[in-house]
């Protein structure tokens, strides 16, 4: 019943072609533009063919965007610190939700879900004032602190579902045999939940890497602390944008998350969809 005749196959592949073109065209065109010399890009109407493709822009961009290495470092640094702090807060909370029954358990879980729906934009005003009062504007903290808050809810939900998969009998048996809670944590829960922790950690990393714009342009004006997106955004306002270099730099900025994701997409997608599809 899953067999298609030739006619159906052609239609399906055509559909996939159109769909994939929509999804991938921006990336393909970004890459193509990054390989072309600037005077080929600045021809109107658009020239589809260039004969002298090169990685020249990937060398020149470091001169045009002198702070680029710093932006790349900042993006990694911000994403790593943000996801580590998120894990620190989320691990105990998720464990508690997975194992204990207590009043307000379900309602607080739903409140967490609701928080996911508030964009950072609503909270910017008070956060701006607080950060200003404490002298934290234009620092790394200004981007990390709100970043963590918006990763906690989903991370708790995700990690909770991993903890729930660890059979409670194991813990109970150890407890009856006299193991302490700390020992149980170290010898039973920690090893069994490593895959889950990795997935949630990666979720937090990709999430914080992706959210580096709103907080970054609002709370930080200092170039030294800018992550890639806000650093590159500054160049777009210039009258002559060197598009080939800009696209090259953008792709370099995208590459790390894309690579991590491609290697681990199976686990991440399974984790994220299991929550919403099966609940």
């Amino acid at each position: 019943m899953d067999k298609y005749n030739l006619y159906e196959k052609i239609i399906l592949y055509l559909g996939i072609l159109v769909f994939m073109t929509f999804i991938l065209l921006p990336f393909v065109e970004m890459f193509y533009a990054s390989l072309r010399p600037l005077d080929h890009l600045f021809r109107s109407p658009y020239q589809f063919y260039s004969d002298d493709l090169s990685f020249w822009a990937y060398r020149e961009m470091w001169k045009t965007v002198p702070m680029l290495p710093r932006y790349i470092f900042n993006s990694f640094f911000l994403a790593s610190v943000t996801s580590l702090i998120t894990l620190l807060f989320v691990i105990p909370a998720a464990y508690s939700y997975a194992r204990f029954r207590f009043p307000f358990k379900n309602s607080s879980l739903y409140i967490l879900l609701a928080i996911n729906m508030f964009s950072g934009a609503v909270l910017l005003i008070p956060l701006y004032k607080v950060l200003r009062t404490f002298g934290l504007l234009n620092t790394y903290q200004a981007m990390i602190v709100p970043g963590v808050a918006f990763l906690i809810p989903t991370a708790i939900w995700l990690l909770k579902s991993y903890f729930e998969k660890i059979p409670i009998d194991l813990e109970e048996a150890a407890f009856v045999d006299g193991a302490s809670r700390v020992q149980i944590l170290r010898h039973i829960i920690a090893p069994l939940s490593t895959p889950g922790l990795v997935v949630v950690g990666i979720y937090a990393f990709i999430g914080s890497y992706a959210q580096q714009f709103l907080f970054a342009i609002t709370f930080n004006q200092k170039k030294e602390y800018m992550p890639i997106p806000s650093g590159l955004y500054e160049f777009i306002g210039y009258t002559t944008v060197k598009w080939n270099e800009m696209m090259a730099a953008s792709l370099v900025g995208i590459a790390p998350v894309l690579i991590i994701f491609l290697f681990l997409q199976k686990y991440i997608v399974a984790g994220l969809t299991s929550g919403a599809v099966k609940n």
Partner: protein, 299 residues
């Protein structure tokens, strides 16, 4: 032994202690700012200081024609964006669910717009939309649809449509992936039984697949409505809300008032409107989720 186990599983104070750090963090960084926003909306707060002004911000806001236009525009923008995401996402999921060679590769290739930082994706779209040198204008000129360079982001209507398309590009992969996951969860024997009864492919889709994944479709509609409503980076990078306000949605307007002009009070009043609308959405969503969960646990 039972007694001991009971003590292991029913330590409420421990449960709360483990949650406390995360809860405290959320209260400080999310809940308190929400309340503070409400308070600020009744003041004329700016960098200079603040005074209590009652409902003045709200009165000014609600009586301004511009603001009413922004609210309408937000919902129109949202309606088109969400509908397109759902329709394209559903078609995409059907295509990627078909038993074809290479589908596992396509399933991975669909995801990049979802994973990549939105801001960087938008830098790419800025280039695509370039009126003189961009590929879209280029195709338009070469096919004769356009009779010259055309700045897609420079005119009111085309900017409105262009921002929607970019938003659909960002949001579709996630919708597709969730629909696909739901389709794969439909029990196979349902299809086999229908196939034996001679149901056509079309029938099987409309009478089995679609009803089976309806809960996910509804959930995704609400979720993507919420995310679309919140969409900031896409519009900000492409048009900053322009030209002449044509793409200024509520979120963009809130941001401009608050942090473009440092009129915190006025910005806060807009943020409160956003909050109220989001609370309504979230309420719908949670009520729905509770109902779906109940149904599942009954079955």
């Amino acid at each position: 032994m039972k007694q001991k186990l009971k003590s292991y599983n029913a330590q409420t104070y421990l449960a709360y202690a483990l949650i406390a750090p995360a809860a405290l963090y959320i209260v400080l960084i999310v809940a308190w700012p929400l309340l503070e926003t409400i308070r600020l909306s009744f003041t004329n707060s700016s960098l200079a200081g603040e005074d209590y002004v009652g409902f003045e911000n709200y009165q000014k806001m609600l009586s301004s024609k511009k603001f009413n236009g922004i609210v309408t525009r937000t919902f129109v923008w949202m309606f088109f964006s969400v509908s397109l995401k759902l329709i394209i996402g559903l078609i995409g999921a059907v295509l990627l669910n078909a038993n074809l060679k290479g589908r596992s590769i396509f399933r991975v290739l669909v995801m990049p717009p979802w994973v990549v930082p939105i801001a960087i994706g938008m830098l790419g779209w800025l280039w695509l939309y370039n009126g003189y040198f961009g590929i879209i204008a280029g195709v338009g000129m070469r096919t004769g649809i356009l009779d010259g360079p055309f700045g897609f982001l420079a005119y009111k209507q085309s900017a409105f449509i262009s921002t929607i398309i970019a938003d659909v590009w960002v949001g579709t992969p996630m919708v597709t992936v969730f629909f696909l996951a739901a389709m794969q969860g439909v029990p196979r024997d349902l299809y086999e039984a229908a196939y034996c009864d001679g149901a056509s492919r079309w029938d099987r889709f409309f009478k089995i697949t679609l009803p089976q994944i309806t809960p996910v479709i509804i959930t995704m509609s609400l979720l993507s409505a919420i995310w679309t409503f919140n969409s900031f980076e896409i519009i900000w990078i492409l048009t900053e809300g322009g030209p002449r306000g044509a793409t200024t949605t509520l979120i963009i307007d809130t941001y401009k008032q608050a942090l473009g002009n440092y009129k915190f009070g006025r910005g806060a009043a807009r943020a409160v409107v956003v909050m109220i609308l989001l609370t309504l959405f979230a309420g719908f969503y949670l009520a729905l989720l509770a109902r779906i969960n109940k149904k599942i646990s009954h079955e």
